[in-house]
């Protein structure tokens, strides 16, 4: 590994996805970024690398943009520069992403310099670092690009950092291996001191030849899957490089707890919401699982859980991994009149009562129309009932 400057200390943050969530999760996501920046400042880093997806969209909400700008300015005022590339979410082909605005404002430094397939480094002589980076694109087009580009080498005495928002095969978690388009480390430009990888949300680190390859994963997460992974033990945080080593600094803006409830062999009504423990001021990932003895998964009532969670300032995420008994579901479709007609006809056929033998659906509809008559202006409810009573009996042929 080439580390010609032992003063190099930087933090490597990735996949912050500001604006991915709303409400409390948005705040937690922002807090995670705040914690990362402030921790970085506290750890006296010289610069910060963001390897893509600072924002969840290329034009995030003003709230997310403002928060990001404030934190980046905080870093800037401490003399800490931020180097970054587009991620796959905050990418804009027209360069009208919020990243470009931050770049124009001098709060970040976009690294990509690609001309005629030649990747030109952005050199920061004060830092002694050469940054190489390629903005991410949608659908993995960048994977092909990596194979075709050439590098314009920076001077040897510089610390070379490659910032890439791409899936690297060697860093893929097992559950994604072979499922998504990824590049091998060997396909990436070689000779880097540090590979700052982003895009995949699970953290990973390895040493590759003389280099460090770090993938911090999502700082907080951008989806419920990320939150579930966190709840199940996946670490969240960022890397801090110092003296040839990369330390993973964990960030936890909020406790994220995972819980499972087994409803196997039970009916939806046997699920007691009160029995579920909801910790306050946290994120609770709750999985309901099992094969129900009766009813359907949607009949498992979780409404009071949600209310209780809200009152405890807790974000509740519920997954219904439930199956109900095989029920031949009658597809209900058609207009209201058609549905009524069908139900009336079908139910009448099943009736054995002689009184219902000589009545048809049309007559029943007529009766329903009578029964559904609303109050006339100035009419009391008792008068309406009396009026309908008389009309109905008259229709049936009862002489009052």
């Amino acid at each position: 590994m080439k580390d010609t400057n032992s003063d190099i200390i930087f933090s490597h943050i990735s996949d912050i996805h500001l604006g991915a969530f709303g409400g409390l999760l948005r705040d937690y996501s922002s807090n995670a970024f705040k914690m990362a920046i402030r921790k970085s400042i506290e750890m006296n880093v010289k610069f910060i690398i963001i390897s893509g997806d600072l924002f969840h969209t290329h034009v995030p909400s003003m709230h997310s943009a403002r928060e990001a700008a404030e934190l980046l300015r905080e870093a800037k005022e401490k003399g800490i520069k931020v180097y970054m590339v587009y991620g796959s979410h905050d990418y804009s082909p027209n360069y009208d992403s919020m990243i470009d605005i931050l770049n124009s404002a001098g709060l970040v430094n976009k690294v990509q310099r690609l001309e005629n397939n030649v990747l030109i480094p952005l050199i920061d002589e004060d830092l002694g670092v050469a940054f190489y980076g390629i903005d991410a694109r949608r659908n993995g087009i960048d994977a092909d690009l990596w194979k075709s580009i050439r590098l314009e080498r920076a001077p040897d005495d510089l610390f070379n950092i490659l910032i890439a928002h791409t899936a690297v095969r060697e860093l893929l978690p097992k559950n994604l291996a072979g499922l998504i388009e990824a590049v091998s480390l060997s396909e990436l430009p070689s000779g880097m001191s540090y590979y700052a990888i982003g895009h995949i949300h699970s953290p990973a680190f390895m040493k590759y030849q003389d280099s460090l390859v770090a993938q911090p994963g999502a700082l907080f997460g951008s989806s419920v899957t990320d939150l579930q992974d966190t709840a199940l033990g996946m670490k969240r945080g960022f890397f801090v490089y110092r003296k040839g080593e990369a330390e993973f600094v964990e960030i936890s803006p909020v406790p994220i707890i995972y819980s499972e409830i087994d409803l196997d062999g039970k009916s939806p009504w046997q699920f007691k919401q009160d029995s579920v423990e909801i910790p306050p001021n946290s994120v609770l990932v709750l999985r309901l699982k099992g094969n129900l003895s009766s009813g359907s998964p949607s009949e498992v009532d979780t409404s009071s859980l949600t209310k209780r969670a809200n009152s405890l300032n807790t974000v509740l995420l519920i997954k219904r991994d439930l199956k109900g008994p095989e029920v031949k579901e009658t597809q209900v479709s058609g207009t209201v009149e058609e549905i009524e007609e069908e139900i009336l006809k079908k139910t009448l056929l099943e009736q054995k009562n002689i009184f219902l033998k000589d009545i048809d659906s049309k007559q029943l509809k007529q009766i329903m129309d009578i029964l559904s008559q609303e109050k006339k202006e100035g009419e009391k409810e008792s008068d309406r009932i009396e009026r309908i009573f008389d009309t109905y009996l008259k229709l049936i042929g009862v002489d009052q």
């Binding site: 909400s61 989806s223 029943l364």
Partner: protein, 659 residues
């Protein structure tokens, strides 16, 4: 429904404006505060009045009067509505007179209505089933026009209120009304059934009674016949007994008469004898008295009449004497006067007393004689009067004697009569014979005959009593029979009615049972349609395809990502706007498939928080919507490409103008 145009006078920043709305997608464009939303508020006010619109903020500041006139087309009719505002003091209110014009092929109808009447009329015409008990128009807000600030309200609304509004929008609340009304009416029908069942319960009893009555009638008739026969026999017997009695009584009577007669005779004889004796005693007494009286009368008795005559004579004499005396006195006076005068009053010659002395002396002698005569006459008269008194006294005795003698005669006569009578009675008595034994026998016979008759009478009366009772009983039976027949007929009619009521009850019960499942099915179908549309539109509006949206059975939006349900709050601002918009569009689309629904969509800044990409996506969605008319307010110039027509609104000073 298509808005054709609106005229505003003194409505917020519009002083006097007329706007024509073309069909299709109409974009109202302008800077913030230009007056875009005012047009939407004015449309809502025109249609629904003041329920959700703050009138004080609608009337232009500084003006006391304002008006909105809206023209729209719906179901081949052209409607023109006119509402007016007025300011009084610090408050703004609607003028109580609103106008409604309806043009159809039948002609133009013009009505003057109160604001409330106009609202309900239009709700009915447009098929919007608002809750009449609320001034706020939630159905309209859900399905036609939602102000910008309320767009996301649908996501956070109380599930109960949201479901209730959706039920109203789609008319599903009618099932609850049907069910409740059916339940109420069924209660009433049950009462009637119970009442009739009670009434016809007695049917079997009545039939039994009827059968008994028939039997009893038969028996009664038989008994009556028997009794009548018996009474007839008794009548005959009674007559016979009567005859016997009469004869016996007559015989007895005769005997009694005879006995009475004999007794009477004896009594009479006895009385007569007594009377004779009395009279004899009386006679003796009288005779004694007579003798005594006679002794009291003097022998030289003169009767008062005689004495009266003598008195009269004497009085006459006395009078003559007295008259003579008077004459003499007069003469004496005259002669004395002459003497004293000494002159003749006639001739006036002097008078010498000597001439008249002899006369006077003669007269005086006469006078003395007269006086003596007069005194004698007077004495005689007195004597006679005294004699008269005595005579009167004797007269009374004589009268009494006469009376006595008369009485004695009468008594004697009576005695004689009595004696004669007595003799005749004795003769009669001797001729009459009376046998006590015979009389006793006759009495017994009569008694027996009477008893017999009485016995027969009593029997007859009993029989008659029985007969009357039987007849009365028969009459009662017949009346009761008629009554029962009537009741049975009545019951028959009631059974028919009961049958119908049971049918009515069964139908109501059937509907009560079936309506919940019907409602559930309809709601499920609507839910399914809305869910499908929301899901489709959300995925079209939101780039993040990992998120999907459905609605749960309570129509609450469920956001799922990687199978996890998350709160709406977990969505970003733009995603929430997209969800709210998708929900609105889904509701309006499903509603517009209902032929009576408005078919108009009004969107007020629907793309709040949308990214550029989302705006483009929204444009695509808009093109695919099938509404008669979409009116959009937006400051996003990207939407210009989507709209069929653009109305630009510019505000200059405090007045909005249109281009």
């Amino acid at each position: 429904m298509k808005i054709k145009g609106i005229s505003l006078k003194n409505i917020r920043s519009y002083v006097d404006a007329e706007i024509t709305f073309p069909p299709g997608a109409v974009l109202l464009e302008g800077d913030i505060g230009a007056g875009k939303t005012t047009l939407l508020m004015a449309i809502e006010f025109a249609l629904l009045g003041s329920g959700d619109v703050d009138l004080s903020s609608l009337l232009r500041v500084g003006e006391d009067n304002g008006s909105v006139e809206l023209t729209f087309e719906h179901n081949s009719k052209i409607y023109t509505i006119k509402r007016k505002l007025k300011r009084s003091g610090n408050s703004v209110s609607q003028v109580n007179r609103c106008e409604l014009y309806i043009e159809s092929e039948k002609g133009t109808q013009h009505e003057i209505l109160s604001p409330q009447e106009l609202k309900f009329r239009l709700l009915s015409e447009l098929g919007l089933r608002e809750n009449v008990n609320r001034s706020k128009s939630s159905v309209f807000r859900y399905s036609v026009y939602t102000p910008q600030e309320e767009m996301k309200k649908i996501l956070y609304e109380d599930p109960k209120d949201r479901k209730e509004t959706i039920r109203r929008i789609f008319g599903v609340d009618k099932y609850a009304v049907i069910s409740n009304t059916a339940s109420e009416i069924r209660r009433g029908v049950s009462k009637d059934i119970k009442y009739l069942e009670e009434e016809i319960k007695e049917r079997s009893d009545l039939e039994r009674e009827f059968s008994n009555i028939k039997e009893n009638k038969k028996n009664a008739i038989t008994d009556i016949e028997k009794l009548e026969k018996e009474i007839s026999n008794l009548n005959l017997k009674e007559k016979e007994a009567e005859l016997i009695l009469t004869s016996q009584t007559s015989a007895l009577g005769q005997l009694q008469e005879r006995r009475k007669h004999i007794e009477s005779l004896n009594r009479e004889i006895s009385e007569i004898q007594k009377r004779i004796e009395r009279n004899k005693e009386y006679l003796k007494q009288k005779e004694d008295e007579l003798n005594n009286l006679k002794k009291q009368v003097p022998k030289d008795y003169l009767s008062p009449e005689n004495i009266d005559k003598m008195i009269i004579e004497s009085e006459k004499i006395f009078m003559e004497i007295r008259d003579r005396k008077m004459e003499i006195e007069k003469e004496l006076y005259n002669y004395r006067s002459l003497i004293s005068r000494g002159v003749c009053p006639t001739c006036g010659r002097p008078i010498h007393g000597e001439e008249f002395k002899s006369k006077i002396e003669a007269l005086e002698i006469q006078y003395k004689e007269i006086l003596t005569k007069l005194s004698e006459a007077d004495e005689k008269l007195k004597k006679l009067k005294k004699q008269q008194d005595e005579s009167r006294g004797n007269e009374k005795i004589l009268i009494r004697i006469a009376e006595k003698e008369k009485s004695i005669l009468e008594t004697k006569s009576q005695i004689d009569e009595s004696v004669q009578h007595l003799e005749s009675l004795r003769k009669v008595l001797s001729e009459l014979s009376f046998d006590d034994e015979e009389f006793s026998k006759a009495e017994i016979s009569v008694k027996q005959a009477r008893e017999k008759r009485e016995e027969i009478k009593i029997s007859k009366e009993k029989a008659i009593g029985k007969l009357e009772a039987l007849k009365a009983s028969l009459k009662n039976l017949e009346e009761r029979e008629t009554e029962i027949l009537e009741k049975l007929e009545n019951i028959k009619n009631k059974e028919i009615k009961l049958d119908k009521l049971r049918k009515a009850h069964t139908i109501l019960e059937f509907l009560e049972n079936i309506v919940p499942s019907m409602e559930a099915s309809v709601l499920s179908a609507i839910n399914s349609k809305i869910s499908t549309l929301i899901s489709a539109w959300f995925s079209r509006l939101v780039p993040d395809q990992s998120k999907e949206v459905q609605i749960d059975p309570s129509f609450a939006p469920i956001i799922k990502q990687s199978g996890y349900e998350m709160s709406v709050n977990a969505l970003s601002g733009g995603e929430r706007s997209a969800l709210a918009l998708a929900y609105r569009l889904a509701l309006s689309s499903v509603l517009s498939s209902n032929s009576t629904a408005p078919g108009l969509l009004i969107l007020d800044e629907p793309t709040d928080g949308f990214s550029k990409e989302q705006l483009q996506r929204f444009g695509d969605v808009l093109r695919d919507l099938s509404f008669e008319q979409i009116i959009m307010v937006s400051h996003e110039t990207e939407l210009e490409n989507v709209a069929d027509n653009i109305i630009r609104i510019v505000k200059s000073g405090d007045v909005s103008t249109l281009y």
